[in-house]
Symmetry: none
DNA sequence: CATGAATGAGTATTCATTCAT
DNA sequence: TATGAATGAATACTCATTCAT
């Protein structure tokens, strides 16, 4: 991508030799794509391997198991979410401003970057087992609590109606998480417009003013 | 279903002999449960058979294939949805009243009846292939168009702000479809309260009035 | 084998359909042969399947796993040993007579019946894991204690020199268990002669009398 | 082997650089340990590598293949046996004295040195293939013939009863080779006592004198 | 000499499905 | 209608081994 004036250490054989981190990243990306398109249970490791441009045996130098791969993808999805959304808004003092920023950041993450990893988090929770599931759920709960707290603060400061914070939290989460099910970046609706529309809709509702 | 006044043809051993329709229904219910809990790709036909109280070979007298079974479940899920929601509200003349009734009916279907079949519709779309997928999507699109039309009517009649009907449609669908991911019928929130809260929230937003 | 004037219920297709017990027995016998010839670790389930005249998948209707198969074979080997040796001699009152009978029975079992299962017990202990290993070892120890007791009784009654019963036990066991490593039933030495020679040798030693 | 008076070529980092012979010896010892504990078929080259403190690829600088490694271990086991037993007793003129010395040396080798390589010889013969098997068997047969000859000489000189030399040979071999299956050097029985007990038992039998 | 990466062939096991009974 | 047995194809994963560096 970047115009690399690379020094390219010596040779360049047809089959390039990449380091562990790069290869692993390749596999994770390919797997996220495959799991996203077919579903974890429908996808085979052969397909993941093919999508990674490696052999089945080869990918096992970089990953431990299919389950671990799923967890790794989800964990990375949560990393992305926290980096792009949660970490950027969690310290905004005003709860209303915080909520607006959260909706905008979350919608834009889903519409603009469309990280497959996040889709996997939403779709394949049922496929995750044991400690892996615990770990992901822990992070999801942290975000839920963050939203609940935000709504409570808004209510306490007279900024929001006396709604149930839990209901509001999941209503909002549902609205946004559903986006990847229908939104087409190439379509009529611009991502930034969607973000604003969601802020508007969630804060003000659909009804016309009095 | 059929009014069988038959008093059990001939002998009636401990292992009761059920008619085809009943057996098939049993299998579909068991399969919906299994697909719901484990995911379609993770579930095996052995598990479906076990959950149906039959042998693996036995269930193939009633179903054609695993894929067809999935489609049958989803189709029944759509039947339920249409019977309990769409058919009951589609002819309400006033669009605002129609929207209110839709939200209430949909939320109550998800919270009160909690049909596994509907969860499968939402979770396993990616596992559905070919014509089966087309068929289900056709029915989903019909409902989407219905909602879009309703929002457009509301806007035209000055009942709703000039929001994008498509955005409103998917925002609402997301809010409601997400419920089965977190709502516990045994929990603090009553289903009828949730329905009213959703109506309230979606129509009026979270912000406090002026 | 036996001239069966069987009524042979109706048809006799090329591919005969056998009941579970028979098939399972076939698999166990074939597997014992294969494990014996190649060693457990070297043998593949494909080879076991081929030797059983079934497909790989087919044998899994009758066995649970390769490990379980190994245990089953060993367990049957121990059954055979106990039925043919231990159970027949354990209640003989005179310890000398008991020892003689034990040596004869054990040698004849190894030379005449040559059960592959017993060979597997001796060769593949290292391949057995967990509870399976415990179970087999428990039965081996019972036999060891039986021999030790027998030697102790002989010593107490002045029938044997004051040797260490444990040493005598393992010396005898080694002598006999080693037979399957070299003895050829088609060879010069008759099985009954070997049994007598072993009784003679173990009781009287190799040295010429005074 | 080669008289290396080299005082460590150049720098000497924490990871000491060992010469080929030493490394090879390390691998053989580690492999003998692993094959002994797990069995050849159950052991993987990864485990051998790990036990050698090297990488999988690394050990292939010193060995040719897993099969060759097995043969090498067995061959070394036979070297040990011949050096410690066969070579030391083969020229003793008196056959009785020769037999006594053989039993003592063999028992002590098994109880005192406990060379894993010898255990591998006894346990993994079935895993050995082709020429490798021929080679090891040739050396085993030489020892068998030596024992047979010794017994024959004893009989000819009136020192032994008229037993079958072949039977006596394998009875003795079994007695001794079985030791590694049960003998614990840390246990109650001293190795030198066991050697004497075996001499005594095999020569004189268990029965009390007349 | 040593290694991380890679692989083709193979591992045990499970799959959805069929069929004779 | 029901089933135990059977299977070909696929499953996730491991193997011994090679090779560029």
């Amino acid at each position: 991508m970047k115009s690399t004036q690379v020094t390219e250490t010596s040779k360049a054989p047809s089959r390039e030799r990449l380091d562990h981190a790069t290869r692993t990243a390749q596999i994770y990306q390919a797997a996220a794509r495959v799991f996203c398109e077919q579903g974890f249970g429908q996808a085979s490791m052969s397909e993941v391997a093919a999508a990674s441009g490696m052999t089945k045996a080869g990918i096992y130098h970089h990953i431990g198991s299919k389950d671990e791969l799923l967890y790794g993808i989800m964990s990375y999805g949560m990393d992305l979410f926290e980096e792009m959304v949660y970490d950027r808004v969690k310290n905004i003092p005003d709860p209303l401003e915080r909520l607006r920023a959260t909706i905008r950041a979350h919608v834009l993450l889903v519409t603009r970057d469309r990280p497959k990893e996040l889709t996997v988090v939403l779709n394949e929770t049922v496929a995750l087992k044991g400690d892996y599931l615990q770990e992901i759920n822990k992070r999801r709960r942290r975000y839920v609590r963050f939203l609940e707290r935000t709504f409570q603060e808004m209510i306490d400061q007279g900024l929001a109606r006396s709604i149930d914070p839990r209901v509001a939290t999941f209503a909002l989460a549902g609205m946004i998480n559903w986006i990847y099910q229908w939104y087409q970046p190439s379509g009529r609706i611009k991502d930034s417009d969607l973000a604003e529309a969601y802020v508007d809709l969630f804060l003000g509702g659909v009804l016309a003013g009095p």
